[in-house]
Each structure stands twice: as C-alpha cells, then as structure tokens.
C-alpha cells in the first residue's frame, strides 16, 4: 500500500524549552487513511501537525532529529510552500488563519498563490463554498462570521487548494455539539469520497470514533496507543487517567467490568443500547422509569428577593441584529447556573447586561434592586464580576501582582485592604512565586486562571464566567469547574456560559437554555436535560449516558441521570435485580 506519511524517530524541542515537545515519534500513514489523534493538552499533537507541512524545522526554531517523509519528500529538503500544496493544514484557532478581506478571496487565496488558472479557481471556490454552506457570506469579511462559520471558511480555503493530505488541528473547537458533528461528518465523507489521507486532532471521541479508521493517543510527547477505534476503546481506563474524555458509554461499561468482567465495551450509543438491553433483559430488569428529580429532595430556593432580575429584556445591536427577545429571568443568591445555547443564541449578550456593559434596548434589568441604566459598570463590578472568554483581552498590566491589584485599585480601596485581598486570592489560586512574572509569559492555562483571579480580588458576590473551558482539555476544564464549585460552596453565586453539556450537567444546579435570543428552557439541571426535543431544536445534546438511559427507560432506568457515576449506580441496581 502506498505510504503517504512516514515519520521515523522524530523528536523536537522548541528553542527556549528544555523538554522535548515530541519524542521518538514513529508513524506511518497509508494513502486514504482517516486517523484521529487525541491526547491531553501539552501532549505534542500540534507539534506533530507542524512536522507534516515543514513548519518544523523551517519556521519554528529548536532541536529537531529524525526524519519526516511526506509523499516521498523529506521535509528537511523542501520548503513550507512546496509541502503546503500536498498537505493542507487547518489550524486550531480559525480567526488566526483568515488573512483576506472577504470570504471569497480567502477561499481563493491558496489556489491563487499556486498560480492556478482563474477559471479553475472560480470553480473550486464555488464548490468549496457550497460544501461548507458559506455561499451567502461570499463577500463578507471572514472575521465578521461566527466562530463556527470561521472554522468552515478556513476549511473551505484548505479544500480549494486541493491538497492530497489533510491535517486538521481541532477543527470543531468553536462549535456547539451538533455543529461539530456536522463538520466532522462533512470532513470525513469528503475524505472517504476523494480517498484523501486525513489526520484529525480532536478531543471529541464520542463524535469521531464511528467515522475514523484509526486512533492515535498521545501523552507527554509520545504515542501511547495506536489502533482501530474498537481496540482503543478497550483502554478507556488509561485514557481517563491521562485526562481524556472517552465516550461516556464506553466508560460506563468499563466501570461495570469490576463486577461484570465480560461486558464488551461499546463504542457508540447504538452499540451501548444493544449491549445494555441484552444485559438488562438477562437480569430480568423491568419497571417504570421514575425520574430522579421526583425522588430527590427538591432544592430549597431561598425565598428572598432575586439578586438579578430581567423584565422583558430586549437587546438590539446597532445595525439591527436582535440578540435578545423578551427575556424574563430571576437569579437568586447562591445559585450555580449554566447558560447554554448554540453559537449566536445571545448568551454573552445576556450576561453583559448583568454588570451593565450593555443596557437594555427595551425592558429592565435590576441588579441588587438597582436599575442598571441608573448606574455605572464600575459600580456594578463591585458586586458582579465578569470574566471574559479570552484572557488575552483582559490582562493589561506588567506583573501578576499589578494585575491582581488592578480591580481593587480602581475601586480606590485602602492599601491594606488591597494587600489583604491579593494575598487571599493568591492563596486560593496558588499564584505564590509568580507575583513578579509578566502575565504574558505565563501559559494559556495560567493566564486563564489569572484572569479569574483578577476578578476575584474585587470580591464580587456574583461571578460570571464566559466559556471557561473552551480550548482546554477535559482535565483542565474540570479543574476550573471544581474551583467554581468551591467558590459556590463559599456562598458566591456562579453563572457559567458554556457549550460543554457534560460539564454543565455535572456542576450546574440550574440550566438556562437560550435559542435565538429567547429563553426556551429554564429549571433544575435534571429537568432541563430530560427535554431531549427542545435541546435538539437548538443543536444541543444531553450527555451520552442521559441519552442511553432515555433509550433504556423500559427497564426502569431514570431518564435524567447526568453523569457516568450516577449512571453506574443505577445500572448496578437494575442489573442487581433490585
């Protein structure tokens, strides 16, 4: 079989770093293979991608050893632009790779550089835009598109170059669940149809496993697993240990093995339904499915006044985009709320009203009883802290200490008080020893933490965090959420915007779902997550175990389990014949 990629003993250490980013990588990819590469952050996935189009060694400085052959060309001997005609590389962050003033120009850009005749370019552009459904944005600035559309545009621009090998670094990082499923489907069917070789770096195993030929798991710069997805799921335990998010149904079966060692590990929801129905049938499980919400003690809602209240809130941006339509919402002290919804559903617009960054076009917003139109953001920020999605927009000081002092100083607090608060937050978040560092020399994860810490020194009662887990692996995402849970237990009200349905399920006690600027669901997490239809209408999906249990309800399994551990408990009970 024809070998498209042959990597022999490749290692690379970025200059300025002491630890190799990848070590002794041995990898052969055959023509037409669709390979998923996964691993926790820092595993070396992006570095591996950079080997393939010559970014390493031609762009990034460092120590490189080993040999990388792409279609028979040694990457050391040819240039990046030569290799790029063979290897189409899609970057992690779509916004950073869009370089033209319109979508159409963007898609044509690569082909133009390679001197493709204009007529042919036009044909390719039309085709790529059609496949990615971007035709209507043709003459718009690509940076004006939503995150998901930008990703589609970046993909279209790679497609128009007609590469033989696609290397896609997290092609769906900015997409909501159903959006990413669609993009992944599109990518894989493209590969199968045209017999392209494809390497996809992704965290989303549930979505990708059914489509790919082969899965490679990396950790600490090395390949630790390499095989067919079916073989890989057998290693669920290992994957969970290194901080990955294996398919929930696989994890459930794996955990059941302690008691039932013969359970096969399912790869997809469908397989899981088959396997578990068989088991439950054999165990003679039957019964009426009683939602957990009904048996559980309902959470006491404080009878006090809501701390944040919106009344018939509309927001229309200049230019006429209606972002919020008639939103009535009450938020109480001590709640842990997840606001979910697809890209562009108005989540960020909504929370910006809570600290006065945006004022209602129509309707009212009251924060601690004060109409937000009568006060300033600075005033509201004493009680409502808002942490932005991207820490790089927030950090603006020369040292970590100054960054932490920035908020309290703006509030004109006395020096001792500022000192107390900084020390306090440093202790909680563990910034000891980093206080004199420049914030921009910290890692992305640390910067994200610092951004939160710099809000915490203002000691707000309400903390709003916008997409705290985007671009982070499952483990880091969970660590952040654990931290918010701790804050919540100390009495802070937490509002999290997210499209990670699993994390929301695990941590939030109340979920608000937005669709096209309207609140379509609002209630305790269990209740909201059992409304499958409404969720799907806005491109969201309940966690895989929830969906599994909904399919198995005739065996008496509750349709509103939220986590794998919960599911494990109920499954054991059902199998035990209780």
């Amino acid at each position: 079989m024809e070998q498209d990629i042959v990597i022999e003993k490749a290692s690379f250490t970025y200059s300025g770093s002491t630890r190799p980013a990848i070590r002794n990588i041995e990898l052969t990819v055959n023509k037409g293979e669709v390979v998923m590469i996964t691993g926790p952050s820092g595993a070396g996935k992006t570095t591996l991608c950079r080997l393939l189009n010559g970014f390493i060694p031609h762009f990034f400085r460092g120590k490189f050893s080993g040999r990388v052959m792409v279609k028979g060309h040694n990457t050391r001997r040819v240039t990046i632009s030569f290799l790029s005609r063979i290897v189409g590389l899609l970057f992690q962050d779509p916004a950073s790779q869009l370089v033209c003033p319109t979508v159409e120009d963007e898609v044509a850009f690569g082909a133009e550089n390679y001197g493709v005749p204009p007529e042919e370019i036009k044909r390719r552009v039309d085709e790529s835009l059609k496949v990615t459904r971007l035709e209507k944005y043709r003459s718009q600035n690509p940076h004006r598109l939503s995150g998901g559309e930008q990703q589609a545009c970046a993909l279209a621009s790679i497609m128009a170059m007609r590469p033989e090998i696609y290397v896609l670094d997290e092609p769906t990082s900015n997409l909501d669940p159903i959006g990413s499923e669609r993009v992944l489907n599109l990518i894989v069917s493209l590969a199968k149809k045209e017999k392209h070789t494809m390497l996809i770096v992704e965290h989303k195993m549930e979505e990708l496993f059914p489509f790919v030929d082969r899965v490679i798991v990396m950790n600490n710069g090395e390949i630790i697993l390499d095989g067919k997805p079916r073989e890989i799921v057998e290693n669920v335990g290992l994957m969970e240990k290194i901080g990955l998010k294996p398919p929930q149904v696989s994890l459930l079966a794996y955990k059941l093995r302690e008691k039932y060692p013969d359970i096969p590990i399912p790869m997809t929801l469908e397989e899981a339904v088959d396997i578990f129905s068989g088991l439950l049938e054999k165990a003679g499980a039957r019964g009426e499915a009683v939602p957990i919400a009904q048996t559980e003690k309902a959470e006491e809602r404080s009878k006090s006044e809501p701390i944040i209240r919106t009344e018939g809130l509309w927001h229309i941006y200049p230019g006429g985009t209606v972002a919020l339509r008639d939103v009535d919402l009450e938020i109480y002290e001590g709640e842990f709320i997840a606001i979910i919804g697809q890209n562009g559903s108005g989540k960020t617009t909504l929370v910006k009203h809570f600290n006065g960054l945006l004022k209602p076009t129509k309707g009212k917003v009251y924060v601690y009883g004060v109409d937000t139109t009568t006060t300033t953001v600075a005033n509201l920020s004493k009680r409502v802290g808002y942490c932005f999605q991207n820490p790089d927009f927030q950090l603006c000081n020369r040292t970590v200490r100054e960054e932490l002092e920035f908020g309290p100083r703006n509030l004109k607090l006395p020096e001792e008080e500022i000192k107390r608060r900084v020390e306090n937050v440093v202790k909680i978040m563990g910034f000891e020893g980093l206080l004199d560092e420049n914030p921009f020399s910290l890692s992305k994860g640390e910067r994200q933490k610092l951004a939160v810490a710099s809000i915490l020194t203002m000691e707000p009662d309400v903390l709003i965090v916008d997409e705290p887990t985007t671009g982070q692996d499952y483990k880091t995402g969970r660590e952040m959420m654990e931290f918010y849970r701790k804050l919540n237990q100390r009495g802070k009200t937490i509002i999290v915007i997210t499209h990670d349905m699993n994390l929301a399920a695990e941590y939030a006690r109340r979920v608000v779902v937005l669709r096209e600027g309207r609140v379509i669901l609002d209630g305790p997490t269990r209740l909201v997550y059992s409304k499958t239809k409404e969720l799907e209408s806005t491109y969201l999906k309940a966690p895989q175990v929830t969906r599994l249990f909904q399919r198995l309800s005739k065996y008496g399994l509750p349709p509103d389990v939220l986590t794998v551990d919960e599911a494990l408990e109920y499954m054991m009970k059902a199998l035990g014949g209780e």
Partner: protein, 281 residues
Amino acid sequence: MAFEYIPGDTFLHRLDPRAKLAFVATVMILAVGFTDPIWLAAVLLALFMLIRYAKLPWDKVKGFIKGIAPLAALYTIFNIIMPPVKIPEPTILFRFIIPISLDSLVWATGAVIRFLIILTVLRIMLMLTPIRDLVLALVKLGLPAEFGISLSTGFGYLPVLLDENRKIKEAQMSRAFEYEYRNPIKRFKALFTQLLIPSISNSIRRTQDIALAMESKGFSYNPRARTYMHEIRFKTPDYIFLAITVVVLIFGILAGWVYEWADFINLTLPLLKKLITSSAS
C-alpha cells in the same frame, strides 16, 4: 466601518479600479488647485451626484460626514485664525480676540470644502471598489504582489482590531476601570496606557499566526507567477471614462493653476466685497 464595500451594479461599480484611481487622483488635484469656495462647492456637488447615481446608501454617507465633522470644524477654525496664504489688504469684519477678515473666512470656507472633497472621494472609491480590486490595480500598476497582499490582509484585519479594542475596554470596565473621564487628557491617557499593552501583545502574537497561515497557503511559493481569481481588464467604457477624466484634469489645471479662475481672490471674494459695499451704501 470606513472601508466598507457596498455591492452594486452601476457603471461606476463596474469600472476598472485603475480608471477609478485615476478619477480619485484627478479630483484630488482639482481640490488642491482650487481655492475658491464656489468652484470647490461645484466639485463637491458633483461628487454627491455620483453618490446618488451609484445608489450608495445615504445613511452611510451621513454617518461618514458626522464622523469627520469634528475634524472639519477644527480645520475650519485653524484656517480662519491662521490662513496659510498671504492676504495683502484684508477686509476686517469684526474682532473676536483677533481681527477676523472677510478674506480669511472665504479662504477657510474653501479649505473646509477641500477637506470634505478629499475624504468624500476616497470614501466613494472604497464604497464602490472591493479592497481586492484596489490591491490588484496597485499590483498591475507596479506594486510588488507581496506588498499588495499585505495591504489587503491589513484591511481584512481592521474589524478584528476594532472588535478587540472593544473587548479589551469592556474587560477593563468590568474591573471598575473608568474610561469616561470628562477631562480629555485624562481620558486619552487612560485609553493609551490601558488599551495599548494588551493590543500590542495581542498583535505580536498575531503576527506569527498570520505569517504561518500565509506560508501554509503557499504565499511565498512564487509571487510573480501568482494568478488572481478576478482579473481586471480595461474595456471601452473604461477608456471613455478615462478620457473624460483627463479632459476634466486639463480643465482643472487651467482653471486652478494657469489662469487662476478658481482662485478665491478672483471670484468669491470680489463678489462678496461688492455685495458688502453695495449694501453699506
């Protein structure tokens, strides 16, 4: 947005960008050569007729004028106080701290119209022509392709920069930072120090990303042999338009420089002086 192309299908939209560039250059030469308010007003009027003809949306034009109004006002005042031309025998109208002459008022009126003409013609050009075509025109006129592409990338990133600045400002306001100082110096300082640090570090980081992205799409493969999806070609209407432009240019040079018909001391000023003396007597 000051660089927004507004799609349309008029004669002006379809013109070759090089012909449009020649037109812009001509109008600018006229604006510099003329100093008389009446002549200049005629040029501005012609430009507004073009806006009408190309069916460009009025609210965009209005927004644009509103945007430059403060600058225009400042420019007018400056020209009244210190007209950069020598006025031999000024007719003093009244005193407001310094003596204000009829001559300097007429000069300043002309100056502000010139200011409007230059900005408006650029704006019309940008509304009528996609950046891509402008860049292509410049490349055809001899600009190296690398520069051309860099230029268009720069334009492409403008909305990103604006958006980013808004986000940075919002993030800082969320930490009780006040931008709304009454005192313009304080406000300027606040904007500068707090906005600059994150913007610059983001830009530095972005520079590498852009370089990577362009390289991975073959930017340096062979810029000379690069093709363009949309070719531009000079057609008959372009030649006709160019011919008319050249005639206007020659006329403008005659009026502005050779015979000085369009000089403010030759038309508006004597006209007004006559008016004043006749009404006084």
